[in-house]
């Protein structure tokens, strides 16, 4: 029973957040598809969101959660624009490989 009622230290949440963030960075580094790279960015954003929520819990500070809300909004907007860019790039280059898209001009 004590196990069931055991509280979780916030340290663990933070460690999870750090781990997710690092995995996001690794994803950015190793993935070759531009869409997956973009997903890694979303992963990193989520990791950061988690730490915001954790600190909101720590300090009973409502603004931590509101911050997460705003981050979500920005992430949604970013996803829309980013994916639109990906489509535009694909039209011109006909590839999604990040390594092939290495020039800023057409």
């Amino acid at each position: 029973m004590s196990f069931l009622h055991h509280d979780v230290p916030l340290t663990w949440y933070l460690l999870l957040s750090a781990a997710l963030f690092s995995l996001g960075v690794v994803g950015f580094l190793i993935k070759r598809n531009i869409i997956t790279v973009f997903m890694s960015i979303e992963l990193m954003l989520n990791a950061v969101n988690l730490s915001f929520v954790v600190f909101a819990y720590q300090w009973h500070e409502v603004k931590g959660q509101i911050f997460v809300f705003f981050v979500m909004m920005v992430a949604a907007a970013e996803a829309a624009v980013g994916l639109a860019i990906i489509i535009a790039v694909f039209r011109v280059r006909a590839t999604l490989a990040v390594d092939r898209i290495n020039l800023m001009k057409l």
């Binding site: 009622h5 999870l16 750090a18 781990a19 988690l50 979500m72 909004m73 639109a84 390594d99």
Partner: protein, 181 residues
Amino acid sequence: MHLILFFLFAGFCLAGAINLLLQTHPINSALSLIVVMTSLAVLYLLLGAEFLAIAQIIVYAGAVMVLFTFVVMLLNAGREERTLGSRAAARVGFPAVVVLLAVLATIILRAQGLVSAHLGAGLTNDPNGSNLVVLSQVLFHELLLPFELTSVLILIAILGAVAIARADGSKVDGAERSAEK
């Protein structure tokens, strides 16, 4: 209970994230990411952020990830090609990630005064209080203007996305059609 749920969904999170990295087909990665996000929503719930948990599922797992899968299908993205890659990424990036993680972990572990989380607590310790009420009071009073501005931001983002993705010129039109096929 809390501990079990934490381990369960933290495990889902990590597993999903690792799977995201391991899968070579983007659609699999997208599905893994949905797992991560849903698990995160549960973790938010555990931390007393009910509103965010729902928003996470609706906005992220729902809207954003659906967008991702749409694009994957629209562009008919197949398996990743083996490309040359980047030496800098291997030689600089991975040690840097290790250092980053080590530094973050050090800081987190060294941090004093972090409390433990237990179920039922959140922004308010009042058993009759609601986290949602606290949140909405701040959001719609103090931060009303920024909140409204986000809607403008999203509107602009939609317009921008339409403008960027719109095919201009017949040549590009053809490319789009071939991409759609």
